[in-house]
């Protein structure tokens, strides 16, 4: 909040502040090992390397990264659930997951060592936002298959802070616990903390007097600098950005320090690249393009050159906080049509797969995304057909409910299904426009 020079806490100065040369050396060493491990244990990736004519011994340093084939989210679906494991199943101690692109879930398997790394990077994340052993951390991300909740829990636990694992929902109870326990830090989505903040104000609670909250780590959905100012103003806290994805480890892949000038990537565990999404060619630091990650310490399900489809730029300049890790900017867009609704990844193709599965429903649809009272809304417009239509309201409501329930079970979020007149959704040749996003991001 204040403009005065602040004290920066760093969880692992050795790894976070090493020189860039030292780090490149460490990355190269770990990359060579990872590629060998992947080639020997994952048939899908071995076949992909063979097809490209790349042998493990061709990869000798991070300079050679560009020769490796990419991995995609579809690989996790095609090899679901255990095809990408590089260790025996008995060594996997945790599964986390998210919905895939077509309604089929994707999962990632973690060894004990992977959980250890995940806890480490989340400890770095929370420390960078000011967390220490004396802090009380409320985890208001969902605790479940979704990585947000467990990630925050493990990081705070590693630091030795007091964890309040609230999970998501039940706002009144969240606020009660926050106040009664004297919670000092919170982890949730930026839209949920905004909602919490507004509710706190409505309840007549003065955050600066009645609460002990000082900072929060917010992520899992896109947000803006304006939202940060709003949250910081609303609750009188430092709002730090956090980034991650299930496929890599979950939250903690990168995080903002209190300088709030980009997110530090944990480069001793992942290598970040920016590529031209059309050609796959590597782009230099400072240029905007698609973010690609290679895990270099992951045992259970290593990912090599995994395409995130997130667009951002990388900045290698040392940060005022003392860290030397490369920083990524906020995600400025997607190279595909993925939407993030209330922290959940939603692909229009998932909705489409639901609609074609419901009898009598036309495959034409439009998704209208908006943000109302700080919460994302998704309206699914579906055309009325002769098969769906009836002279009674209850019959039509049944069809509507069937569609809504199916989407909820496949995508995991509640939507408002709106029935519209036949042929009212614009047909277009080639790639149809399926999404109208009214959110100001």
């Amino acid at each position: 909040m204040s403009e005065t020079k602040r004290e920066h806490k760093i969880w692992n100065p050795t790894m976070e502040c090493m020189s860039r040369d030292e780090r490149a050396h460490l990355q190269s060493e770990r990359l060579v090992k990872t590629v060998r491990h992947e080639y020997d244990n994952v048939p899908m990736y071995r076949a992909r390397m063979d097809a490209k004519g790349v042998k493990p011994e061709d990869i000798r340093s991070i300079e050679d990264l560009k020769y490796l084939p990419f991995m995609e989210k579809t690989d996790l679906r095609d090899e679901f659930p255990f095809g990408l494991l590089a260790v025996p199943k008995r060594d996997i101690v945790r599964i986390q997951g998210s919905s895939g692109t077509t309604g089929h879930p994707i999962v990632s398997g973690y060894t004990r060592g992977d959980l250890d790394v995940w806890s480490e990077v989340m400890a770095r994340t929370l420390t960078a936002a000011g967390c220490g052993p004396d802090d009380i951390v409320q985890v208001s991300y969902g605790l479940g298959l979704f990585t947000g909740g467990f990630g925050a829990y493990q990081g705070a636990d590693r630091i030795g802070a007091m964890v309040v694992p609230m999970s998501s929902g039940n706002t009144q109870r969240q606020i009660m616990m926050m106040k009664e326990l004297g919670v000092t830090m919170i982890c949730c989505t930026p839209s949920y903390v905004t909602y919490l903040g507004e509710t706190i104000r409505e309840m007549g609670i003065d955050p600066k007097k009645d609460l002990k909250l000082k900072a929060g780590c917010f992520g899992a959905e896109p947000w803006t600098e304006e939202m940060r100012y709003h949250i910081e103003e609303l609750l009188g806290i430092d709002a730090c950005d956090i980034y991650g994805l299930t496929e890599i480890c979950g939250p903690g892949v990168s995080f903002a320090c209190l300088e709030k000038d980009g997110m530090h990537i944990n480069e001793d565990h992942v290598i970040a690249e920016i590529i031209n999404p059309a050609t796959g060619e590597q782009l230099p630091y400072g240029q905007s393009g698609e973010l690609v990650f290679t895990t270099i310490t992951k045992e259970g399900m290593p990912m090599l050159r995994y395409r995130t489809h997130d667009i951002c730029t990388l900045n290698p300049a040392p940060c005022a906080c003392g860290r030397t890790t490369v920083r990524m900017t906020r995600i400025t867009g997607r190279t595909d049509d993925m939407l993030i609704i209330r922290g959940v990844n939603v692909f229009p193709s998932q909705i489409e797969s639901v609609l074609v599965g419901v009898e009598g429903v036309a495959p034409h649809y439009m998704l209208i995304v908006d943000r109302v009272n700080s919460s994302d809304t998704l309206e699914v417009q579906v055309e009325m057909t002769d098969e769906m239509f009836s002279d009674t309201v209850s019959h039509i409501e049944q069809v509507r409910k069937r569609i809504t329930d199916q989407i909820k079970s496949v995508v995991g979020i509640s939507t408002n299904v709106k029935l519209v007149a036949p042929k009212s959704i614009p047909r277009s040749e080639g790639k149809a426009k399926r999404v109208i996003d009214h959110r100001k991001l």
């Binding site: 002769d386 002279d391 009674t392 409501e397 029935l419 009212s424």
Partner: protein, 145 residues
């Protein structure tokens, strides 16, 4: 004994009902009864026209992109006085079926009012209503109104 009803889907958007009435009117379709069911999300317009106008009405509606269908409903006479409708509903209660919707005819016939009904188990219900002495109106009678 049933009469034909046309139901039309209306998107929840300003002006859709007017588009419908304009379209039917311009095609010379005479609306003899009409009801509008609306929810937060959509509406259903139910209309009664003369038998020989049912097919032309459907044709123009569908040609203009409306979703429409025809189904059978019951048309019953009640006395046009306080508790007239109530007497009919008591009979319906007595035969143990439920009303899915009902509305009244636009055209009055003097001392009688016409009620259009959609009941659960319609085929059974029609027989029982007739047995109980409810005067049911045929499509032909409607056409002659």
């Amino acid at each position: 004994m049933f009469i034909k009803q046309i139901s039309v889907f209306l998107e929840n958007r300003q002006g859709t009902l007017r588009e419908l009435t304009h379209l039917l009117g311009a095609s010379g379709i005479d609306l003899m009864a009409l009801s509008l069911a609306d929810t937060q999300n959509f509406g259903i317009v139910r209309i009664i026209v003369a038998d020989n106008q049912v097919d032309p009405a459907l044709r123009v509606l569908r040609a203009s992109g409306f979703t429409a269908r025809v189904n059978n409903v019951i048309c019953a006479e009640v006395e046009d006085r306080p508790l007239g409708l109530n007497a009919l509903l008591e009979t319906i209660d007595a035969i143990g079926v439920s009303v899915e919707y009902l509305y009244s005819f636009l055209r009055a016939t003097g001392e009688r009012a016409l009620i259009i009904l959609r009941l659960s188990e319609q085929d059974e219900s029609v027989k029982k209503l007739a047995e109980k002495g409810v005067k049911l109106v045929s499509q032909q009678e409607i056409d002659n109104l």
